[in-house]
Symmetry: C2
């Protein structure tokens, strides 16, 4: 089932979220709006707003402005992190087009990221619920820590352990998705058990989501993925597809891989060799298998929530996250 | 009178602010703490926390944890903006030592800025007052807009008007100082007239503070200033010392200045010529005169507040801001 079909139950709300986003990025400085709009209008799955709205709905909150505002705020925080990520990674492509740092340079891109983060937290503030603000600022600090962890680990790819890979995934991606789910629940309900079940759904779905992203970076094509494939390797980031493949490789292969990964940068031949190893030892498939386990954990959490159409969509979303090809 | 003497009335609280800052920047990722600590331990006048504490005290709030936490949060936001500023400007020096981007590179510097901003807003959240959060997120968004405005204006120095210069000053510097004052008042008092008087003090003092900074960039020495002098010109930023000097220059001088400023970068001889013009037409002095007017406006606002020791310190602080040499 396609994403828009899974999300049809909240399609009206997702339109309102887009309207709120556009309202929030207005600025007396034209370039600020232009850069914000460029990335936000360039697509993106809006998975975080969708999770917030579905979680909120699953616990009985089906209307009201606060969930629209919160969903918009979370997407703005995510967008801010993409802008900073692209600067940090010198990325060339994002969502199928030139990334903002290429079009406008690093300077305004960093600053517009700051603007979006501030606007997002102002928007969350306007919901008048301190718990929401805590959930979001905690996630946002973790996100930055996860990105620093990733930059640090890229200084020594071969020493990056499975634990570090998962630490990066949890901080960089899963924490904000968990917070999306939790904010949705907080808006709807005061029952701690239910809020925690929803949080666990978000955390596990977030891990699955990033694992699939890491797998696709080795197994997709640029056209399908909307960004360059093989980028993690080029940027010196150890991710699980490569990690799992190295575990399975022969001693000779391992030595050769380690020798390559120890270098500052890789030539075409070296890149090809690494890709062959990942292909030979099915690192992308193994990573997707791992993603499936986390998606199943996410689905398990849903059994603690009321049975309704929103819950059903959350269940389908977990399948979608694992099966997606971009 | 020296700054520490002016602030002696809040010296105990300023120590507590430092302790809170150190607590807030703790992170399971060691590099995050290290980078945060490097800049925060490197000095800085702590003018924003001081203003918050003094404003709070002037309206009767002389103890409690919330003003310590808010003051720490504002300093963290300021620090985050310095980190991003140094990346944006490719700065080499900050507070008399190598800037963070030089020591660790741009990547972790950008991300640690994000971390500090998130931590700051989390800390403000923990004060449990939604109005504080609004004051701070509004200022933080304006700060980013002001920085973008500055980057944009540097694309065409000679077209930068006095209004644009003031717009940058207000957004980039004065808005956060205004918010420091306002937060201090909000914590102490619900009287709107008093809160607005305090806000006006902060805004005008903030403008004076940045005007003096811009003047010192043309008139100080590197040793005294703690950062490279003449940087605004090197970075293509039009500030008021130069703007005022051009107004006074002869037609021949103006033509030569405009020809130089229209270039992508300047050689030693061109830089010297510009400095001579600023010196000849006393641009730095005129900017300080303008700063004095704003400092006087700030002092005028204090007459609407109760007369006490805190109020007296705020008054002396306004003089200090204009007379400072670094």
């Amino acid at each position: 089932m396609g994403l828009s079909e899974i999300l049809s139950i909240i399609s009206g709300d997702l339109v309102r979220v887009e309207e709120q986003i556009d309202k929030s990025i207005q600025s007396p400085v034209p370039l600020v709006y232009e850069i914000s709009k460029y990335l936000l209008a360039g697509g993106g799955k809006r998975i975080r707003p969708a999770i917030l709205l579905l979680c909120s709905g699953s616990l009985g909150l089906t209307d009201g402005w606060k969930k629209i505002a919160s969903a918009a705020a979370i997407e703005l925080i995510h967008t801010a992190s993409l802008l900073h990520d692209d600067v940090v990674d010198d990325a060339a492509l994002r969502r199928g087009k030139e990334s903002s740092n290429v079009v406008w340079g690093n300077k305004p891109t960093v600053l517009v990221g700051d603007f979006l983060l501030s606007k997002a937290l102002g928007l969350i503030q306007s919901c008048g619920n301190l718990e929401l603000i805590k959930a979001v600022t905690d996630a946002s600090a973790k996100l930055a820590e996860g990105q620093v962890l990733e930059v640090m680990s890229s200084a020594s790819m071969i020493e990056t352990t499975e634990d570090v890979c998962f630490g990066i995934i949890e901080n960089k991606t899963a924490s904000l998705i968990e917070s999306s789910a939790r904010v949705g629940a907080l808006l709807a309900n005061n029952d701690n058990d239910k809020i925690n079940a929803v949080g666990s759904y978000g955390l596990n779905l977030g891990i699955a989501f990033q694992l699939v992203d890491d797998a696709l970076d080795y197994s997709s094509t640029q056209q399908e993925f909307g960004k360059q494939v093989g980028q993690d390797l080029v940027e010196g980031k150890m991710t699980l597809p490569l990690f799992y493949s190295i575990q399975g490789a022969t001693k000779t292969e391992k030595d050769k891989v380690n020798k390559i990964l120890g270098k500052e940068s890789f030539d075409e031949q070296e890149l090809s060799f690494i890709f062959e190893i990942v292909s030979k030892y099915k690192g992308a498939d193994k990573t997707k298998d791992s993603a499936k386990i986390y998606a199943d954990k996410a689905k398990e959490s849903l059994t603690y929530l009321p049975t309704n159409e929103f819950n059903k969509s959350l269940d389908m979303l977990a399948d979608f996250v694992v099966e997606r090809t971009n």
